[in-house]
């Protein structure tokens, strides 16, 4: 394994175990108002390592609980995106011809729509969204770039000699796609998922901070940031700790994505040169490793 993969996996393992073990580690229930008079807005102490908030809830417990929500949202919505992207790419490649070209152009159009604006608009119009609704919303707006990867890679795979050899022995479209080509896509999909989870964690933090994502009293990193928004100077612990947690989680997921990409798709690792040219040709098909 390359040098990067092991540390990245260690970070992810740490993240996942902390989040999964959350309920066991947190000293208090995340929404319990412990002592509204004596314990409100306390700075970090031994009893409350991350302090307490304006209604005397323990911030440490909330950060742990919030982590579960933030991560669950990210993982579920990215999984949804992956499934939709793969289906879209598969159908496009199977049908081929004009339909394929049209579907790819539609994808280009979708990629040019700024996702954040759409999410903000929906959030503003619909107000409070339930957790499932959020998963669906974020999932269905986030699959376009993965779909682009899938269509590009399936198209390239279809011209490889083993595809021709498979067709020469009578394998037809759907079977060729499912058994022979999709396994090649796994590294791409996993890498895309890693970066997607990182992006979605940050996205959720932003949306909930604005009041448009997870709703109070449910803890998430974004909602704790929201609680601490007006009092950053006086109650700094409400911003610092969820902020650090978000940074750590995003870092871990990006590190994993980087490590996997270096190991499995070295031609796609962006360098200064490729990132400069890529920004001027957004819908050019990427070169795929032969």
């Amino acid at each position: 394994m390359s040098r990067r993969v092991a540390p990245a996996f260690a970070l992810i393992a740490l993240l996942v175990s902390v989040v999964v073990l959350g309920p066991l580690l947190s000293p208090y229930a995340p929404n319990a108002q412990l002592d509204i008079i004596a314990l409100r807005s306390q700075a970090p102490s031994l009893a409350h390592p991350f302090g307490t908030d304006a209604v005397s809830r323990d911030v440490f417990s909330r950060v742990l609980d919030g982590g579960r929500v933030s991560l669950a949202l990210a993982v579920l919505s990215v999984s949804l995106s992956l499934v939709v992207a793969t289906l879209y790419g598969a159908i496009s490649t199977l049908v081929g011809g004009v339909v394929d070209t049209t579907m790819r152009r539609l994808l280009d159009v979708a990629l040019s729509i700024p996702r954040l604006l759409v999410l903000l608009a929906v959030g503003a119009l619909w107000g409070a969204l339930s957790f499932p609704a959020l998963v669906l919303l974020i999932g269905f707006t986030g699959w376009f770039d993965t779909a682009r990867l899938v269509t590009d890679e399936l198209r390239a795979l279809g011209t490889r000699e083993f595809s021709v050899a498979a067709r020469a022995m009578g394998v037809r479209g759907p079977r060729l796609l499912w058994r022979h080509l999709l396994p090649h896509l796994l590294p791409t999909l996993v890498i895309s998922a890693s970066f997607g989870v990182a992006r979605t964690i940050a996205l959720e933090a932003g949306l909930s901070y604005l009041g448009l994502g997870i709703q109070a009293p449910q803890a998430s990193w974004g909602t704790i940031l929201h609680d601490g928004a007006g009092v950053v100077e006086t109650e700094w612990w409400l911003s610092l700790f969820p902020g650090l947690a978000t940074v750590f989680a995003v870092l871990a997921c990006n590190a994993l994505g980087d490590a996997l990409r270096e190991r499995f798709a070295p031609d796609h690792v962006p360098t200064l040169a490729t990132s400069l040219t890529a920004s001027s040709a957004p819908s050019s098909s990427r070169t795929v490793r032969p």
Binding site: E161, F162, V164, A168, M169, V171, R172, R175, R179
Partner: protein, 340 residues
């Protein structure tokens, strides 16, 4: 001619064209294969010989209708296999023929095998596509086939991935995939080109052995005349997308009639030869979109004369089963006066 005498494979006037980016309003095409005709009888071994770029691989792919786009088989071409018109078959029957009645062995096993599937599952895939055997039966037949193609410890090998096998073993796997359904015609596209000489000999021996066992017809594509001498009963020589000579193997080696064939034979180094330099055919194969007028070989031909520039020769009968596309057949005197 009764039905059993009819050839297994009959190709007539095959033309494969690729669009070129020619200027002007007319979309021009380059014919990579232009008017190729040949037959293969049941159980016969025919070799298709020619340099890289002469269109032999495309011809092979066209038999299974696998010509890569944007190339297309032009109308007027005819491919009859075992009584079926390959070019007008519906998808269902085409799929049934591919891999089951007509199979192909590709040139480079490392690229023709799927790197993410085990070799066993790739061989089993042929069975799963064409039969309804149980998993157990499929597995048993896969391992048996691997043993038949000479792979030791077949059950263990079947669970390995292509990159874990040597080149010779990968080629045996490809042969297993092609032969597992006992097809009537096997097309082998340069099956030994990517292998060491000693492994080449083993693979050819394997093909000979399987041929005897199954009675299959073999269309062997190669540029190696040594392979031709070992395997063929009939030979078809191609140049620039056309058949330039066809004969049975003995006649071809003893008395070639086309200057290209003569050049190919002269280029083979021979034991005990005195010269320091190998004989070559000067020049190189012209690309399909820049063919010379008249005879396509004339720029490289030692005997070319004025008629060669104006008139493309037809495939003329030379002996009972021997034809050559050369004006020298009609004007043998020109042989006495080669150019420079």
């Amino acid at each position: 001619m009764t039905a059993t005498d009819a050839p297994l494979l009959e190709v007539q006037a095959l033309q494969i064209a690729f669009p070129t980016s020619g200027g002007g309003t007319m979309a021009s095409v380059a014919r990579a294969v232009d008017g190729v005709s040949f037959t293969v009888a049941r159980g016969e071994t025919v070799c298709l010989v020619g340099e890289s770029g002469c269109g032999k691989s495309l011809t092979a792919l066209s038999l299974l209708r696998l010509v890569p786009s944007p190339g297309r088989i032009e109308s007027g071409s005819r491919i009859m296999f075992d009584g079926s018109d390959m070019l007008t078959l519906d998808d269902e029957r085409l799929r049934a023929i591919r891999g089951q009645h007509m199979a192909m062995i590709f040139q480079e096993p490392m690229t023709a095998l799927n790197p993410v599937l085990t070799v066993g599952s790739q061989i089993a895939e042929v069975l799963r596509v064409h039969t309804t055997l149980s998993r157990q039966e499929t597995w048993t037949r896969t391992v048996d086939m691997l043993t038949h193609v000479g792979i030791a410890d077949a059950a263990a090998r079947a669970k390995q991935y292509p990159h874990e096998l040597s080149g010779g073993m990968r080629q045996r796997v490809m042969i297993a995939m092609a032969l597992i359904m006992s097809p009537k015609l096997v097309i082998a596209d340069e099956p030994t080109t990517a292998l060491d000489v000693t492994i080449q000999a083993q693979i050819l021996e394997l093909l000979r052995h399987l041929r005897e066992r199954t009675g299959m017809a073999l269309l062997l594509i190669t540029h190696d005349l040594g392979v031709v001498a070992e395997m063929a009963s009939r030979v078809i020589v191609m140049y620039a997308g056309r058949v330039v000579e066809e004969a049975n193997v003995v006649d071809l080696f003893a008395a070639p009639r086309h200057p290209y064939t003569e050049g190919l034979l002269a280029a083979i180094p021979k034991l005990g030869q005195e010269e320091d330099r190998l004989q070559t055919i000067a020049g190189s194969v012209p690309p399909p979109d820049a063919l010379p007028s008249g005879c396509t070989f004339r720029d490289r031909c030692p005997y070319a004369f004025d008629r060669c520039a104006t008139e493309e020769p037809a495939l003329l009968q030379v002996g009972s089963a021997h034809r050559a596309r050369c004006h020298l057949v009609e004007e043998p005197a020109r042989r006495e006066a080669p150019r420079a």
